[in-house]
């Protein structure tokens, strides 16, 4: 099945499927995708996150902003890092947090998604953080929740992972400053990556100087160039003069057979080793959304090396998620 990269399997909604993210007053209510946010909202989220970063440095790592609100982490797909950083973000805003891991819960007993939703709504939740293996799941939930509930997409199928893209943009801005002069390369399995999709939308909105994707033909969608990215199949060419290298996880569990000869072959061609890293600018930073497959897409010495900002990404993820939660929850009154 051919997958449209620009707009994967989202159901036929209104002509503007991301308009649902805003309330009648034009305020951000749900975060489902980067599309439709524009530079204004993205910058606003990053600026707000900057304010929240200092909270994590204090003795009491909490502000009372969302006291009395309930955030429900609704994870239909396994995740450690994303779920824990969403949980910490909510807790640092003084919200109450409920973690529901649905892959092992009622859905296996035949309860429908809407039934699950209604039941959790009845517990007076104010926000759902949703991860689901189906593209469009968070949109679906946002269309059906009670009007006071906000929905954050924590990753849906191949479609989007907006908070990851925002925290990556935040990390780059903190280290490199302005986006305009930067060359950013996203490397690896672009095709199956919701992270790559969201990053491309975010970096284009922020007017990044040049955006590249690097990977084998089988892992790069055919219709990607109209999105404003340059496609490279050779690492040496693709990494030349690059300021930021984003390595993607090889999505082994999402890949039908035949797209890759072997992991060893992938590593030989596209795995980021110390040697290949030298092809980029000397001050290039290395990013990875995690969890990294060491020895598959990245060498341990690079992941733990001086140019890696992988752990900063994790810390920044808390501030960015606090910002998104606070902004979305402040829409309602």
């Amino acid at each position: 099945m051919a997958v449209n990269f620009v707009r994967p399997i989202l159901p036929k909604l209104s002509p503007d499927p991301w308009a649902i993210q805003f309330d009648a007053a034009g305020h951000l209510k749900h975060l489902l995708t980067i599309e439709g946010l524009g530079a204004t909202w993205i910058t606003r989220i990053l600026d707000t996150a900057e304010g929240f970063m200092s909270v994590s440095d204090r003795d009491i790592k909490k502000v009372p902003l969302l006291r009395g609100r309930t955030v429900v982490n609704l994870f239909f797909e396994a995740s450690t890092r994303t779920r824990t950083t969403f949980e910490l973000a909510a807790k640092r805003l003084s919200a109450d947090v409920l973690n529901i891991n649905l892959s092992t819960s009622a859905t296996t007993k035949g309860e429908s998604l809407l039934d699950t939703l209604r039941n959790i709504e009845a517990m007076q939740a104010d926000m759902f953080v949703v991860r689901h293996e189906q593209s469009g799941a968070a949109h679906f939930i946002a269309r059906h929740v009670a009007p006071h509930v906000s929905v954050l997409n924590a990753g849906d199928g191949w479609h989007a992972h907006p908070t990851q893209a925002l925290l990556d943009a935040f990390t780059i801005r903190r280290i490199k400053g302005d986006f305009a002069p930067l060359r950013i390369a996203i490397v690896g399995d672009i095709k199956h990556s919701r992270v790559a999709r969201s990053q491309i939308h975010a970096f284009n909105s922020l007017n990044v100087g040049e955006l590249r994707v690097i990977g084998p033909r089988t892992l790069i969608p055919n219709d990607i160039e109209p999105l404003g990215v340059r496609v490279f199949h050779d690492m040496r060419e693709g990494l030349k003069d690059v300021d930021v290298i984003i390595m993607l996880r090889l999505q082994r569990e999402r890949m039908e057979g035949g797209l890759l000869p072997t992991e060893q072959e992938f590593y030989r061609l596209y795995g980021l080793t110390e040697e290949k890293l030298k092809w980029a600018k000397p001050d290039a930073i290395v990013m990875h959304p995690g969890p990294a497959n060491r020895g598959v897409e990245i060498e341990s010495r690079v992941a733990d090396g001086p140019q890696s900002v992988i752990l900063e990404q994790v810390s920044n993820g808390i501030g960015v998620r606090m910002a998104v939660m606070a902004l979305c929850m402040s829409a309602e009154s």
Partner: protein
């Protein structure tokens, strides 16, 4: 309202505050105080007072956005200047500085935030202007000028250099 009160000049106001604080320090009411300004107006006033009092430790700055009680109705405004308290405030005397004391809600939020950093021995409130309209039992220990105004009017302090103050009506703000 027929006549509006005259606001004193900024130099006069700062001099009044400074003299009052210097006296409190010399008489031992304030012991080796740490100064903390509330963003934005309070920081500008605090910078001016901090210099005149020649306090040795750096000025602290509070951004109370995350402690406001009107978050549900007014929403969140992005903040580019986060709180900075460079010195441990546990057991310290703190001079909390703001430009205008009005409803008292800002000061309540600032005190809540201070207590998330530590337990100060004393908080002393210094403001350039104190006006009527308190909604909480909060009062200032150091005041540049007391002003009575109709709810239609607000005192607008601008800065950092030059620091200016003038009266505006709500219609002008809208």
């Amino acid at each position: 309202m027929t006549s509006l009160p005259e606001l004193n000049s900024i130099d006069q106001l700062l001099a009044t505050c400074w003299q009052n604080l210097a006296r409190a320090i010399s008489q031992g009411e304030l012991n080796n105080p740490l100064m903390v300004g509330i963003h934005s107006g309070g920081v500008w006033v605090a910078e001016a007072l901090h210099e005149r009092l020649a306090l040795s430790e750096p000025l602290g700055k509070l951004n109370i956005t995350f402690y406001r009680d009107d978050f549900n109705t007014l929403g969140l405004h992005p903040t580019v200047a986060p709180s900075q308290l460079p010195v441990d405030i546990d057991g310290r005397d703190i001079i909390l500085v703001d430009d205008v004391l009005y409803t008292g809600r800002t000061i309540r939020a600032a005190m809540n935030e201070l207590f998330d950093y530590g337990r100060p021995a004393r908080i002393w409130l210094a403001v350039l202007f104190e006006r009527d309209g308190r909604e909480l039992p909060i009062s200032a220990q150091t005041v540049g000028q007391r002003v009575v105004l109709s709810p239609r009017h607000q005192i607008h302090v601008d800065g950092p250099a030059p620091l200016t103050a003038h009266l505006v009506t709500r219609e002008e703000i809208a």
